[in-house]
């Protein structure tokens, strides 16, 4: 079945089964490999994208549920204010190690910052605990989110 979806401002038409998870449409059909596969059950957050600005696990989001919603992926998150601040803070705090989970971490953190410009530690726990990092970069992720929040406060 053909579906038309809007990803990072561009419209794409794809012909897949209606229950195909968005993750595989992005990665294998559209070739946008920044969004990662980790578990297939919304347990690890590696596949996180934004659907109308809301952090969403693409591995369990069927293509027929997308409709006209705007999908944003790691490839375009830098075009948003919160996304750009998060990416900058990620580089300044040297967050990444293997880097595989970081697309999902950045998407979750960007959604958090966009909706809550000054998150507390508890807010960070709530927003980020669905994202597993096997390299254990949690300490730096927390620092980077706080730094990004601060840079927003300074008009960055």
């Amino acid at each position: 079945m053909a579906f038309t979806i809007k990803v990072n401002g561009q419209t794409h038409s794809v012909d897949v089964d209606s229950d195909t998870p968005l993750l595989w449409v992005l990665r294998d059909v559209l070739g946008m490999t920044g969004t990662k596969f980790g578990c297939g059950m919304a347990l690890c957050g590696a596949c996180t994208v934004h659907v109308d600005g809301v952090a969403t696990r693409s591995c369990i989001t069927p293509i027929d549920g997308i409709g006209n919603s705007a999908i944003t992926t790691i490839e375009a998150i830098g075009a948003t204010g919160a996304g750009a601040r998060i990416q900058k803070a990620w580089l300044e705090r040297e967050v990444v190690q293997c880097g595989y989970c970081q697309s999902g971490q950045i998407m979750s953190a960007s959604a958090l910052l966009a909706s809550n410009p000054h998150p507390t530690d508890a807010d960070i726990d709530d927003a980020m605990s669905g994202n597993i990092c096997r390299c254990g970069t949690y300490v730096r992720i927390r620092e980077a989110i706080k730094q990004a929040a601060q840079s927003a406060g300074q008009g960055g």
């Binding site: 195909t20 990662k36 059950m41 595989y100 994202n131 390299c135 949690y138």
Partner: protein, 734 residues
């Protein structure tokens, strides 16, 4: 040597014709995105220009450096990046002596070549055992210095001046008296004709410009904007995507298969039936997974159909009742034990563990009758080439391996089982196929950290001081399979590291090891390897002795360290920074650990909180480290933070169990990971040292497990001798 190598590589590429089909632009976009002049050409053995440009004007004094007349300075990385920062720290070593800025260099993965790129400490081309910096420390600085001397000689010859009057700096040679300058690129062709200096003098530490500074990670930009290419991200033209199901019991086989429903799934192209696995080949992973779920398979479970973890543990326990290969023998342990005031005996057990790398296992293969091309993220690319060649029925030189960024290694990607499996599938597929393991397959068909069983006894004198220590332990020797020459006289250096070389002064000390391979479950290296279990055991047991002697755990250890001042220094520093001895709320406790493994000294103090229900929360970890000369201090911090989270995850949750021959855990719901809301605060304190560098990728992991167990003892009075933490043992009676 390198030129012959390059030439033969190019011939292979040309003959196969594969290179032309690959979109180089796509694969190289990582480099463009990385910016700053740095290019991580991570996807091809050589960047696109290599296959076309002549090499006549190139300066390649050794296997690690190429300087083109176009000014490109390319460093060839024999170690692979899996998060540990090696793509930053290894270039720092070369760049320091070559006198170039890190921003001036481009990186390439080294191709498979054991002769050129073997790790001197392992003897094979592999990234593991925390030894990249240790192995590279001298040879790669020498490689840089050799190249610099030849470039200076070329400039001096051109100017007809004394080389001593010239100086190399930031990729240029300057003639100091006249101020004349030539860029390395301009000197490349002439430098290649200069004699290779017989011996080189390396910089004194006080002259280091890069080493010891917190250099920014070179791989970070591509990893925050989604352009980094991991093995799972490759997309050769026409590639199909496959997933697989393997016999749920190791050693089982496919008995019957009904794939009618699977074949009817939209996008499914082909079902490949192997002896012990079925693969569904499709247009995309969504279709492949749907097809997999629609398969109806009957398995013949084979000889291990009834195997349980308890069976494995029982066999290991039996093995510790006999005698083992003597790994260490100091004094006379048996005689000493007969006359001690206090005797302590204990049994420790450590479980099977999965690696659960965030990037599930995957490998892309284009198989043809006369050649095979492989895309993978591997810690041991030459091993992949050799084993894939065998599976493909081709000579190794007909197998081209493209190595990629690794989405978590931890030892899992030292193995080539995934590449072999992918080749077996690809042999039935026309065109390239990317085989991706589901998370369930990844966890249920891992190769696991061995189960270990340790039997210990010790004796204390009247002052409570340990005078004798005996340990006999049993478990799998990964080395015996992975690097057979490393297993000699019943012993291997990995299984015993951390068990036989304690920092403490113990006059009578005997350790025996019994190699016993478990049936029906494959074992492999796992982050912190031998010490992952040995340090848990030894640092818990010394804690038991301190408790038996009714002495403070830090003071007790400290009294045994007169011959190990570096160990004493890290212990003192960790205790001081952690506020050792200061009061904590009821239900909380501090535990300490101390180790010398992978060439580095580490002390950790963990602070835990144990709830009435017995759940354990690690609140804070303080680590002091002496890893000798520090190459990149930020990497030291990052690796210890990482190792602590990895080890704490294992201590609190890590356990792979077998029932009816099947691994019971499937995904992150049953094989849990520490998450953001459970992560402790971590402080890392580095001791300044001029000693040669030690390894750090794994040290944090082995040290944290006993620190947590000892902290639980301090909080509850209960000694946990089996990992992971069992909350039911800590639950308070109502």
């Amino acid at each position: 040597m390198i030129r012959d190598h390059i030439a033969s590589r190019r011939r292979n590429l040309d003959q196969s014709g594969f290179a032309n089909g690959l979109s180089r632009r796509r694969l190289l976009q990582v480099g463009a995105a990385a910016g700053g002049g740095l290019m991580l050409s991570l996807s091809l053995p050589f960047p696109s220009h290599r296959a076309e440009a002549a090499v006549a004007d190139e300066f390649a004094p050794n296997a690690f450096i190429r300087i083109g007349s176009d000014g490109r300075i390319i460093l060839i990385m024999p170690y692979v990046e899996m998060g540990q920062g090696t793509y930053t720290s290894i270039p720092m070593l070369i760049a320091e002596e070559l006198d170039v800025n890190l921003k001036q260099v481009q990186l390439e993965h080294a191709p498979p070549n054991e002769k050129l790129y073997a790790n001197p400490l392992l003897g094979v081309q592999a990234t593991g055992n925390s030894n990249a910096i240790r192995g590279a420390w001298k040879p790669l600085r020498e490689a840089g210095a050799t190249a610099r001397i030849m470039l200076v000689a070329a400039a001096a010859k051109r100017w007809d001046v004394d080389p001593k009057s010239c100086r190399a700096q930031d990729g240029e040679v300057a003639h100091v008296p006249t101020g004349r300058r030539l860029k390395y690129g301009e000197l490349a062709a002439e430098a290649a004709k200069m004699p290779v200096p017989a011996g080189v003098t390396l910089k004194a530490p006080e002259d280091f410009k890069l080493i010891g500074t917190p250099a920014k990670r070179l791989d970070a930009p591509a990893k925050v904007n989604g352009t980094a290419v991991f093995g799972i991200d490759v997309h050769p033209p026409g590639v199909k995507v496959a997933t697989l199901v393997q016999s749920p019991v190791f050693g089982g086989r496919v008995k019957n298969l009904d794939d009618t429903a699977a074949k009817a799934v939209k996008g499914v192209r082909q079902i490949v039936r192997l002896d012990d696995a079925i693969s569904v080949v499709a247009d995309h992973m969504g279709a492949a997974k749907k097809g997999l779920a629609a398969l109806n398979i009957e398995w013949d479970d084979g000889p291990h159909a009834k195997l349980t973890t308890a069976d494995v543990a029982r066999e290991l326990e039996q093995a510790t009742l006999g005698s083992g290969a003597v790994a260490q023998n100091i004094g006379d342990a048996d005689k000493a034990l007969a006359s001690v005031t206090t005797k302590i005996e204990a049994i420790y057990q450590a479980p099977f563990l999965a690696h659960a790398t965030m990037e599930p296992m995957n490998c892309t293969v284009h198989f043809r009758k006369d050649a095979c091309e492989i895309w993978i993220g591997s810690q041991a690319v030459a091993r992949v080439q050799a084993m894939a060649a065998k599976a493909a029925g081709l000579p190794p030189e007909k197998v081209i391996v493209h190595n990629h960024l690794i989405g978590g290694g931890f030892g899992r990607r030292l193995e080539a089982d995934g590449a072999v499996r992918a080749v077996e599938i690809a042999k039935h597929v026309d065109g390239p196929v990317k085989v991706v393991w589901t998370r369930e397959e990844d966890i249920q068909h891992d190769m696991y950290r061995p189960y270990w069983f340790d039997r210990l006894s010790a004796g204390l004198d009247e002052q409570g001081r340990p005078v004798v220590w005996k340990n006999r332990f049993a478990g799998s020797s990964v080395i015996a399979r992975w690097l057979p020459p490393g297993f000699k006289d019943g012993l291997d250096p990995d299984s015993t590291e951390g068990a036989i070389d304690l920092v403490y002064d113990l006059p009578n000390f005997r350790v025996e090891y019994v190699r016993l391979e478990p049936p029906g479950i494959p074992t492999a290296f796992w982050r912190s390897v031998g010490p992952s279990h040995n340090v848990f055991v030894t640092e818990s047991f010394i804690d038991e002795m301190a408790a038996a002697a009714k002495q403070d755990a830090v003071a007790y250890r400290r009294a045994l360290l007169d011959k190990s001042p570096r160990a004493k220094a890290v212990l003192d520093l960790a205790a001081e920074k952690a506020g050792w001895g200061q009061a904590l709320p009821k239900g909380s406790g501090r535990g300490v650990s101390l180790q010398f493994v992978f060439g580095s000294y580490l002390a950790q103090v963990a602070e835990v909180e144990v709830s009435k229900e017995g759940t354990v929360r690690v609140r804070r970890v303080v680590c002091a480290v002496d890893c000798g000369t520090v190459v990149n201090p930020d990497t030291v911090q990052a690796q210890i933070q990482s190792g602590i989270i990895f080890g704490a995850t294992a201590a609190l949750y890590g356990e792979i169990t077998l029932k009816n021959g099947r691994v019971e855990q499937t995904n992150f719901d049953t094989y849990q990971m520490l998450r953001m809301n459970q992560a402790p605060a971590i402080e890392v304190h580095i001791v300044k040292s001029a000693e040669p560098p030690g390894g750090l990728g794994e040290s944090g992991t082995s040290a944290i497990v006993p620190a947590i167990a000892n902290a639980i003892f301090a909080a509850t009075g209960k000694r946990l001798r089996k990992m992971p933490v069992d909350a039911s043992l800590l639950k308070q009676p109502v």
